[in-house]
């Protein structure tokens, strides 16, 4: 029982990070029909830039408290990633907007390689330890179930950001313009919505969320590395597909479900496989889910029929 509860807690935390990153995939897909495979790497850049800023601040002002340091990391890395998202959209994707779908997809993979290589050149190939600024000392709210403050922070911040995003998308003129552009960007522009601007804003919002997710992942595991965006990016993409790609609520749900399945699976895989597999095989679950969704329900949990899109 404790194992199950513990894995649910872990799953919620990991899942909320998947959700944040999945939102970036799904918003861009909703508007452009493009799977932005470079999104996970924006997250990686977010983590490494935050690390750089925190190390710099520690050296300059050694008396700063841990929360102030996290704050500085975010204040530097969020705008950097927003700018990065804008530049990628503007230079790599915009001119391919009316090209066959394969072209922007391959470009996205190219951008992903480019960002990883750039990060490797700047920060080197080694693993960097990310300062554990928010405590990772586990607390025990229930006997046998451990939660760390950094996990609680991750969960609360993710939930807050997602609620804010839902409000913006559903209740504000900006969100209305985003939804109009997502339904049909040609019609939206004929109705006076500057589609280019809305698409750029979508990339910028997604990149800001990715930067925050990057800091969360790095704080949780205490490590930052130039390939750290790849696997979480792929899993977040899985989460977006699971929820129904293009659907914002779906990305949130898909992230949480994926996180839970993965955690619970990791907790029991050893028992289920009679000791043949252990928890380091947890990545299997994400890809079993991706395969199963694509075979049995390609529109995802909350997705709608997309046949009339063209």
């Amino acid at each position: 029982m404790e194992t199950l509860l513990q894995q649910i807690v872990n799953g919620l935390v990991v899942g909320s990070v998947y959700s944040l990153v999945a939102l970036g995939y799904t918003m861009v897909y909703g508007i452009l029909g493009l799977i932005n495979f470079a999104h996970g790497d924006v997250m990686m850049i977010g983590a490494l830039v935050a690390l750089q800023a925190i190390l710099f601040a520690q050296k300059m002002w050694p008396s700063l408290g841990p929360l102030a340091l996290v704050g500085i990391g975010l204040v530097v890395s969020i705008p950097t990633c927003m700018l990065l998202g804008y530049v990628v959209e503007r230079t790599a994707y915009r001119r391919l907007r009316n090209a066959p779908r394969l072209a922007p997809l391959i470009t996205a993979i190219g951008v992903s390689f480019l960002l990883q290589t750039l990060a490797m050149i700047i920060w080197g190939r080694g693993y960097h330890s990310f300062p554990q600024l928010i405590s990772t000392v586990p607390m025990q709210p229930i006997e046998g179930v451990f939660v760390t403050p950094v996990q609680i922070t991750t969960l609360l911040v993710s939930a807050g950001l997602m609620a804010a995003l839902l409000l913006v998308v559903n209740k504000t003129p900006l969100g209305r313009a985003m939804r109009a552009t997502a339904e049909n960007h040609r019609v939206a522009s004929l109705m006076g919505v500057d589609a280019n601007k809305i698409i750029a804003i979508t990339f910028i919002i997604g990149s800001a969320l990715a930067a925050i997710a990057g800091v969360m992942v790095a704080s949780n595991y205490g490590i930052a590395h130039y390939t750290m965006g790849f696997l979480p990016g792929l899993k977040a993409f899985t989460a977006a597909v699971l929820g129904g790609i293009g659907n914002i609520g779906g990305a949130m749900l898909g992230g949480i479900v994926l996180g839970l399945v993965e955690s619970i699976g990791a907790g029991y895989i050893e028992t289920w496989s009679f000791g043949f597999l252990n928890s380091s095989y947890q990545d299997i679950f994400a890809f079993i889910i991706l395969g199963a969704v694509l075979i049995f329900r390609p529109t995802g949990l909350l997705g709608e029929r997309v046949a009339d899109r063209a």
Binding site: R179, S189, V193
Partner: protein
């Protein structure tokens, strides 16, 4: 009479098809101007070039005294031209009210900062935009469906909603692409009243229509396109007797015999 829109020598080619060649026409402020012609005559292409969806190969549009930007639809809307579509193109998953409010987007000043902080100016603007959207739904007669998802509206109501959405952009010129297509006689009658009301409220109307009776009864002046060329432009009574027009509409049928 004040000239609102002047098209000068508009030409547009798609591969081997000259969709528009050297089309010039002018629309006066406050009139209902009809653009008719057989299928494939280039009427909708004219709309698409006018609204910036396509870029003309040659020619220019002078609107309210200044040239219209090319290939930038939202700037054309900002200048005061709004349109509806031959095949209805609402934002299908949004409510009727949201569709109209999306049309009002270009007239709203709220910026990202104001939206994120929800300051007073932003909230007040949103409140006024909501009121205005209700008024427009009432104006076209579908206010009781304000909260209905637009794809669930009846065909005729979807057409009305498209007009309300276009009016929300606060146009000087409203371009309607076959608004009566697929409507029955009652609905067409109501549409006619609506278009007249819109004109009387100060909006100039450009109308593409197949329903010749509607066009002849409603329009102050009519231009006729055939194979991308303008073959006539005058008051309906004159156009109806024009031999080139009769030939264009009936000529094909004569040859078929």
């Amino acid at each position: 009479m004040i000239r609102l829109l002047e098209a000068r020598g508009i030409a547009k080619r798609f591969g081997g098809v000259q969709a528009l060649s050297d089309v010039s026409l002018s629309i006066n402020k406050g009139e209902i101007y009809g653009l008719i012609g057989p299928n494939g005559a280039g009427k909708t292409t004219f709309f698409n070039v006018l609204t910036g969806a396509y870029v003309a190969d040659q020619g220019e549009f002078i609107f309210a005294g200044a040239e219209l930007p090319r290939g930038k639809p939202h700037e054309v809307v900002a200048r005061g031209i709004a349109r509806t579509f031959q095949n209805i193109r609402l934002f299908r998953d949004m409510t009727a009210l949201e569709n109209v409010m999306a049309g009002h987007h270009i007239r709203m000043k709220a910026n990202v900062w104001g939206i994120l902080t929800q300051n007073r100016a932003t909230r007040e603007e949103e409140r006024l935009a909501t009121l205005r959207a209700y008024e427009l739904l009432k104006y076209v007669g579908i206010e009781r469906y304000a909260d209905t998802i637009s794809k669930n509206l009846s065909y005729g109501d979807q057409r009305r909603l498209e007009i309300a959405r276009a009016l929300a952009t606060e146009p000087q010129l409203l371009a309607l692409d076959e608004p009566a297509a697929g409507m029955n006689a009652t609905e067409t009658g109501q549409l006619r009243t609506l278009i007249e009301t819109i004109r009387n409220d100060g909006v100039t109307v450009l109308l593409i229509e197949h329903d010749v009776k509607l066009v002849m009864g409603l329009c102050d002046r009519v231009a006729v396109l055939d194979f991308g060329k303008k073959i006539a432009e005058d008051v309906p009574a004159v156009v109806q007797r024009d031999t080139a027009v009769i030939e264009a509409y009936l000529g094909g049928a004569h040859h078929a015999h």
